[in-house]
């Protein structure tokens, strides 16, 4: 009886051992597309000071400071500044001023100071320094009072 039981158990084990596991496999694909993105965060505005000959009002002059912004991008965009169109000058200033906005970046991508549109190809965070210079020519001079100008920093 014992021998019969042992033989039956051995037979069952053998039958089980012969069966191979039939697990199915499949691949799950993941796709992702990142389109160009750009975020501008203004850290601070700039300050312009007048030169000793009163013909330059600029953030580059002594005591002046550049505006600062942070640009986060995936790359594939360009950075530019618009010509200055919005200004406030004292009533006593009746002569023409030429305004020149410029920008430079550091961080993920370094761009030397320029006024022309420049491609941002490197993804990451760059710090942008925005400068503005107003100049008068000939005998024209900046006069006492409050000056204000708006520079548009564009990422596109």
């Amino acid at each position: 009886m014992k021998i019969a039981r042992a033989a039956m158990a051995a037979g069952l084990l053998a039958a089980c051992a012969c069966q191979t596991a039939s697990a199915a496999t499949g691949n799950v694909l993941f796709n992702g597309t990142i389109t160009a993105t750009c975020t501008i965060t203004i850290n601070s505005n700039g300050t312009m000071t007048v030169s000793s000959n009163l013909q330059s009002l600029s953030s580059h002059n002594a005591g002046g400071s550049a505006g600062s912004a942070q640009v986060d991008t995936t790359g594939g965009v360009s950075l530019s500044v618009d010509p200055v169109t919005t200004t406030t000058v004292p009533a006593s200033d009746t002569t023409a001023t030429t305004w020149t906005p410029t920008f430079a970046t550091s961080g993920a991508q370094t761009i030397a100071e320029t006024s022309t549109a420049t491609a941002l190809t490197v993804p990451g965070t760059s710090t942008v320094a925005v400068n503005l210079a107003g100049t008068k020519s000939g005998t024209n001079r900046f006069s006492a009072g409050n000056y204000q100008a708006t520079v548009t920093l564009r990422c596109e």
Partner: protein, 130 residues
């Protein structure tokens, strides 16, 4: 009474829109096919700050001349770290295709000598199908 006045002043200060400047917008590229005499684009201006800002959306052509597009809404307050959809409907004006820039702009800080206005522009190309 005085406490109520102080509390009210504090609440007004906390709820006042902050004139900060900063901007994001998605998508920044797009190509649309339309069977009508206009094409529509939905963009999502975003506010990277923790406080709300005022946002304006404008549409320009390739030479940065304004385009008479229907923008809904064109100006709004956006909560901190939030974004919202803006629908822009651009007429073809008789052309078979049109390239436009849809720009999200922010209001600069007031009372500063050199203000910086942040502007994020996306380029969109509309094709007309008959």
């Amino acid at each position: 009474m005085r406490r109520i006045a102080i509390l009210t002043a504090g609440l007004i200060a906390a709820l006042s829109p902050v004139a900060a400047t900063g901007q994001s917008m998605t998508p920044m590229r797009g190509e649309v096919r339309s069977f009508t005499d206009a094409f529509a684009v939905r963009v999502f201006p975003g506010n990277p700050y923790n406080q709300r800002i005022r946002v304006e959306v404008h549409v320009y052509d390739q030479d940065f001349q304004p385009v008479a597009a229907r923008i809904t809404p064109s100006a709004f307050l956006l909560a901190g770290q939030a974004s919202r959809p803006v629908l822009v409907v651009v007429p073809f004006d008789g052309a078979n295709e049109r390239k436009v820039r849809i720009c999200t702009e922010s209001i600069p800080f007031p009372s500063e000598q050199t203000q910086i206005r942040a502007q994020i522009c996306g380029k969109f190309f509309g094709h007309r199908r008959f």
